[in-house]
Amino acid sequence: MVSNNVPAEKIIDRVDLQLVADMIKPGSRVLDIGCGDGDLLNYLVNFKQVDGRGIELSQKGVNKSVSLGLAVVQGDAEDDLKNYPSDAFDYVILSQTLQSIYDVRGTLNELLRIGQHAIVSFPNLGYWRVRFDLLIQGRSPMSEKLPYIWCDSPNIRFCTLTDFVALAGEMGFVIHKIISINHSGRATPKNSVGIWTNWLAEEAIYLLSRG
């Protein structure tokens, strides 16, 4: 068990996860979809006293999470979310998973049915290196955040920061916060996505709610 005297910043060594954690109010109910080894959830349970739940596809991730004492089930977002009651959570987190989901609209609707807020993060297809790969090299883009060759990639949905803003608007969701993260891991809070942000952000995190 994590003891409380460990400095918080040591718990999560991924910038994006720490930023997600910072969006969450202490004591809230949280569902982390695609929770991996449970790093974020473990941090939230221990440092923000959340009532945390997780869903993870890989057995390795589930095993690690459960061994930490976390309530994590083996499953996937598209099959398992429909079983949760409406408004079961204050926050539903979908971090770095959107790009591998088939039914994006259906899943986003489910996130905001079972949760008051959704926190969604994904790699930006509009990032300048990605654009240059395609433009100059003529190759399907690969980067640190999109590390797979096209034929092996689990990622089937690619979108840019601007694309996501448009989709959220079309679906009637309210975007409360956008954080863009550049290649060196520097995070910048934004109210909207401008042209340059869409060029420079390697990934982004959105805080959404129903309209």
Binding site: V66, L70, V72, G75
Partner: protein, 395 residues
């Protein structure tokens, strides 16, 4: 033999049971003396004996108790040499010092189920009104009754809240019944390789086993206790058929394949030519030495009747409304008797009531029996979940 309380009166209509087997190691207590146990069938039982075994020490605030529920043919001797067979306890790789259910940290209780034949009241016991064994006149019991009797034992031990209830197969059914019926008495529940109801396929397998027993002429309508011959052939066939369902096809191939038993060629007859035949015959023959045929009928029936949703308007989630119990469900990929889909159904029901639930499917080719075998991944999940919950509860 401990007597819980002195009887006073009116056991109007209650069925008293005198133990046929006395002197089993462990604890034997008499329950249902003052107030008989009301069975689901409408009958009343009491006084009756329950036999159980314990490992480890109960702590001062009685908060470290783990109830281990045994499966169909298991018994209370989970973590010690079996008094009849001399074999290691059925969960000796899980329960013990330094093991996932660590007896240095927890107080482990394992109770022989109602209807069983290792000391707890069952059809082999004596009906004091006739002075003869009950046989089929023993009342029918259900998983609900089995757990109600366990609750009496836990009350007797002065334990208000079990830290954990766990078990595999029929043990998992008892775990679910505990969590559903007595949620305030359970902190965490770990149903392993279980289901919230017995499937049609499983009822079918049980029926084959029961028919094997009942068609043995030595069964004599269940009144065989005073005769020279026991229905061992029927019971052994029942065990053989059941044993196949506990293993996966690939494990059978891995272990036995088409290998021949002590011979170079097939015999062109009906001897046990193949290793798998010899193995099954051995399983059947050794089973009859420790198990009562009528107990097998009664306990398989209890499993058949189990359907947790049926008691809750056919909505499984209603069995767990507002539960505070922390669940951890475990299934095994090659288990076709209690497949992962059964566990997943329970997970979905628990999600629907926003319960705290963990669920893992362990990759193994060992089939349903995997929960009794050496499965490191399974052990690490079990010890991880239990110790994290114990840390959180300051045990």
């Amino acid at each position: 033999m401990t007597t819980v309380s002195n009887s006073n009166n009116a056991h109007e209509g209650s069925i008293p049971v005198e133990p046929a087997v006395i002197g089993m190691p462990g604890h034997n207590i008499v329950l249902g003396e003052q107030v008989p146990l009301s069975l689901v069938s409408g009958q009343k039982l009491g006084p009756f004996t329950v036999s159980y075994q314990t490992y480890g020490k109960l702590n001062a605030d009685r908060s470290n108790a783990i109830l281990v529920c045994h499966a169909l043919t298991g018994d209370q001797f989970a973590a010690e040499e079996h008094p009849i067979t001399g074999n290691a306890g059925w969960w000796n790789m899980v329960v013990g010092s330094g093991l996932p259910i660590d007896t240095d940290r927890y107080y482990v209780i394992c109770i022989n189920v109602l209807g069983g034949c290792m000391g707890t009241a069952g059809p082999r016991d004596i009906n004091p009104k006739t002075g003869r064994p009950f046989g089929l006149s023993f009342p029918l019991i259900t998983i609900t009754d089995i757990v109600a009797a366990q609750k009496l034992v836990i009350d007797y031990l002065g334990i208000e809240k079990l830290f954990c209830v766990t078990g595999g197969s029929m043990g998992a059914m008892q775990v679910l019944e505990w969590a559903s019926k007595y949620p305030d008495c359970v902190l965490c529940a770990i149903p392993i390789a279980g289901a919230a109801r017995h499937s049609a396929q499983n009822i079918a397998f049980h029926e084959v086993g029961r028919q094997a027993i009942m068609s043995d002429p030595d069964w004599r309508n269940g009144s065989y206790y005073e005769s020279q011959e026991l229905p061992n052939r029927g019971l052994s066939v029942a065990r053989m058929a059941a044993h196949i369902t506990y293993m996966s096809d690939s494990a059978l191939h891995r272990k036995f394949g088409r290998e021949l038993q002590d011979r170079a060629n097939v015999s062109y007859g009906f001897e046990a030519d193949f290793q798998i035949e010899s193995y099954l015959r051995h399983q059947g023959n050794s089973f009859v030495e420790r198990f009562d045929a009528n107990s097998y009928l009664y306990i398989t029936r209890a499993m058949d009747y189990f359907d947790l949703a049926a008691e809750h308007d056919n909505v499984l989630a209603n069995a767990f409304l507002n539960t505070d119990v922390k669940f951890c469900l475990i299934s095994f990929t090659s288990d076709w008797l209690f497949p992962t889909s059964e566990s997943r159904q329970i997970v979905h029901a628990l999600n629907a009531v926003a319960a705290s639930v963990s669920f893992v499917e362990i990759n193994t080719d060992s089939g349903h029996d995997a929960f009794l075998l050496k499965e490191p991944e399974f052990f690490s999940i079990l010890s991880g979940f239990i110790s994290a919950a114990a840390d959180q509860s300051n045990i």
